[in-house]
Amino acid sequence: MTPELPLHHYLVVGAILFALGTIGFLARRNLIIMFLCAEMMLQGVAVNLVAFARYRGNLEGQAFTLFIITVAACEAAIALALILMLFRNKRSLDVSLWQELREPRQEPIVDEEPLPTPEREAPNPVLTQAGLEPEHREEKSHV
């Protein structure tokens, strides 16, 4: 950090990143985009941490940031897997299709302008078969 660039510049960048992420998370309905927005919020926080660490002249914030990046990577793996499963269920990435976890006796909110669905469904990627499937021995249950 050059001495002539004071702390609040970095904080403003972090705040902008965070605000953009928040707005994106609230406004967009595509699951993947929402996930990426969440990541953006995380990065805004990381910028703040690094800036404060530099400002105070210690390494704590840097260490935190390293952890945040690591965790974000793991999170991405899990989140993308989950999103894939959700997509397989509904053939859509629209988050508003998932309303089952609501209070009983509450009517679902009907979307007036649903996301445009692709005309032709993309097939799930299938691996080409290599070799023969081994014969399975019949297992007898002893229960």
Binding site: T22, F25, L26, R29, M34, V95, S96, W98, Q99, E100, L101, R102, E103, R105, Q106, P108, I109
Partner: protein, 685 residues
């Protein structure tokens, strides 16, 4: 006194071990041999009891031999310090010998009597006196009844020996409840029969009423004596305030009246005859029902300080004696006649205890003592307990032998003239009946005479209540006449007249096997001789032995009242003669008399309608109250609980729309909330 501390614990331990062995090994392993642990345990306890008795008896000099052994502390919490302490003194030794000896004989007798249980015969189908008929199914499981019976009898012997051996009120109470439990289990032995199950429940509940009083009494004694529980500590430290002593004594009397079936709480004992006859002999005639008498005798140093409580004891006892005798006159069930006579004789014992007036002052070390007259009265009462145990157990066992031969029919109207058919049973029953009637020289004569004499002496000595005691004396004499009459009514109806055998006997009515008759003969010998041997003046061995219990003062032996003896012998003979005249010489007289006095006959044969009165005035209102409370519980209490549960539910309904399941809606609310917090933080920093 020679040291018996190493033996004392064996007396309860042997029957307890027998109970466990029979309970665990009986159904699978011992089966038909399940009686051995019980008999050996009882016999072993009897041998040890005799050794303890001898150790007390052979103590030289005029002292009061007593040995207290403290084995370990059961629990210790604050001021409560309960030691497992056993005590051997003259009173305990007497009770022990009597209990274990009779238990052994009855256990042997039960081998024959309970034999039917082995073959899963529907032995419970006793045709009872009211002709309810066959209501019983066979108890579940093959052959389980036999080991169960002996395990419960062994457990009873354990509890009873603990009751008389314990040196503090806590152990006494534990034994007290233990015998109550065993009584419940054994009355309900044929629990598939509704009348037996009801009788068991009735016995348990009614004695429980008394037990509440006893427990309050123990608490009062404990607090009043500065947190002592052992007898000596309680007697020495309880304040000599007339009010508190009387209150404590009345509470103890409440417990004793429940267990010993005295007037207001007696109705369970006649119903308890639903149990097997050896149980009636052991628990409901010889041992358990005398626990109340033992308790009051043990607490004599307290009772002599409370003349009012003693008067209550005497009045309750005498009233029960007379009342039960009047009921016994017209009962047709042989066992019920004996049950009412047990009530009556227990009433005599209470009368004797209540006549124990005369405070003997304090011993050199500050201990309260019973005076010489009181000692004589308590001794008379305990002596009657002792002889009664022998002859009443004998009578019940003979009645059981009759039942055994008659195919479990016990209604005296359905059999008769059995003296040729059952010769041994006949002779032994006759001896028991003579002892119960109080004809010299049989045992009942000596002990009953001593109690009547004690009432006479009490009338002479009491300052305030002399007239009352004289009235009790006359009532006791009248009861003696009634006793002789109803006992021999039962005897003549059963064994005299033309021979009649009910069809339930199956045409092969026969004398019981030796395993039943030998105990009968042994008991008959004791019932005949024990009174004369122990009470014959001038030695009067029983009284000489009992006064060596701590807390009793020996006085000069009062000269025997030959006039009184003569009168009571004549009264007994008159009762027997009247019974002979009414039932043998002129067999129709009884029916004519019943016709002539229909009201009196109805009152007596319906037991003065006491059960109905209790039902109407106590049971019905309580049932009504419970119905009322049930409604309150269902609608008021449950309604309140429902309201309390519904309030959060209604409040929560306000927030239901928030939970719409949309992820972004939740995120929006979170952001808004965060904004509010941030604004608040900035504004009110």
């Amino acid at each position: 006194m020679s040291d018996v501390s190493y033996l004392l614990w064996l007396i309860p331990a042997l029957p307890l071990a027998a109970a466990f062995i029979t309970a665990f090994l009986g159904p699978k392993l011992l089966r038909g041999q399940s009686h051995w642990p019980c008999i050996l345990g009882a016999a072993g306890a009897c041998v040890v009891s005799v050794i303890v008795f001898w150790a007390v008896y052979s103590t030289p000099g005029e002292g009061k031999p007593v040995q207290v052994v403290s084995y370990y502390t059961v629990f210790h919490a604050g001021a409560v310090n309960v030691d497992f302490r056993l005590r051997a003194d003259a009173l305990t030794a007497l009770m022990l010998v009597m209990v274990t000896f009779i238990s052994t004989l009855i256990a042997i007798y039960s081998i024959g009597y309970m034999h039917g249980e082995l073959h899963s015969e529907p032995h419970g189908e006793r045709q009872d006196a009211h002709g309810h008929g066959h209501g019983a199914a066979v108890p579940p499981g093959p052959n389980y009844g036999y080991p169960r019976f002996f395990a419960e009898v062994a457990l009873f012997i354990f509890s009873m020996t603990m009751l008389v051996l314990g040196d503090n009120l806590f152990i006494l109470y534990a034994g007290w409840e233990g015998v109550g439990l065993c009584s419940y289990l054994l009355i309900g032995f044929w629990f598939t029969k509704p009348s037996a199950a009801d009788a068991a429940r009735k016995a348990f509940l009614i004695t429980r009423i008394g037990d509440v009083g006893l427990f309050l009494g123990i608490m009062l004694l404990w607090v009043g004596s500065g947190f002592h529980l052992d007898y000596q500590g309680v007697f020495d430290n309880f304040p000599h305030d007339p009010f508190y002593v009387t209150l404590a004594c009345l509470l103890i009397l409440c417990g004793a009246a429940g267990k010993s079936a005295q007037f207001p709480l007696y109705t369970w004992l006649p119903d308890a005859m639903e149990g097997p006859t050896p149980v009636s002999a052991l628990i409901h005639a010889a041992t358990m029902v005398t626990a109340g008498v033992y308790l009051i005798a043990r607490c004599t140093p307290l009772f002599v300080q409370a003349p009012v409580a003693q008067l209550v004891v005497a009045c309750i006892g005498c009233f029960t004696a007379l009342f039960a005798a009047l009921i016994a006159l017209t009962q047709n069930d042989l066992k019920r006649v004996l049950a009412y006579s047990t009530l009556s004789q227990l009433g005599y014992m209470f009368l004797g205890l209540g006549c124990a007036i005369g405070f003997g002052g304090f011993a050199a070390d500050g201990r309260p003592q019973a005076g010489p007259e009181a000692t004589a009265a308590v001794s008379a009462s305990m002596f009657h307990l002792f002889t009664h145990a022998f002859f009443k157990a004998l009578l019940f066992m003979a009645a059981g032998s009759v039942m055994h031969a008659m195919g479990n029919v016990i209604d005296m109207r359905r059999f008769g003239g059995l003296r040729k058919l059952l010769p041994t049973t006949h002779w032994t029953f006759l001896i028991g009946a003579l002892a119960l009637s109080g004809l010299p020289p049989f045992s009942g004569f000596w002990s009953k005479d001593e109690i009547v004499g004690a009432a006479f002496v009490a009338g002479h000595h009491s300052f305030s209540f002399g007239a009352v005691y004289y009235a009790l004396f006359i009532a006791a004499m009248a009861t003696a006449f009634l006793t002789a009459f109803y006992t021999f009514r039962a005897y003549f109806l059963t064994f005299w007249g033309e021979e009649r055998i009910p069809e339930e006997a199956g045409g092969h009515a026969h004398e019981s096997p030796a395993v039943m008759t030998v105990p009968l003969v042994i008991l008959a010998l004791f019932a005949a001789a024990v009174g004369a041997v122990l009470a014959l003046p001038p030695w009067r061995l029983f009284e000489a032995f009992l006064v060596r219990t701590p807390g009793f003062v020996e006085g000069p032996q009062s000269p025997p009242e030959y006039l009184l003896m003569g009168v009571s012998a004549v009264v007994a003979a008159a009762g027997i003669g009247l019974a002979y005249w009414m039932y043998v010489a002129r067999p129709g007289t009884a029916a004519q008399l019943a016709h002539a006095m229909p009201r009196a006959y109805l009152l007596s044969s319906h037991k003065f309608f006491v059960d109905e009165l209790y039902d109407y005035f106590l049971v019905k209102p309580v049932v009504g109250l419970t119905q009322f409370l049930r409604i309150i519980d269902q609608y008021v209490v449950d309604g309140l609980v429902d309201i309390v549960g519904n309030i959060p539910k209604l409040l929560g309904a306000l927030f239901w729309p928030i939970q719409n399941g949309l992820v972004q809606y939740y995120a929006l609310l979170m952001v808004l909330g965060l904004t509010v917090f941030l604004l608040a933080l900035v504004r009110y920093r």
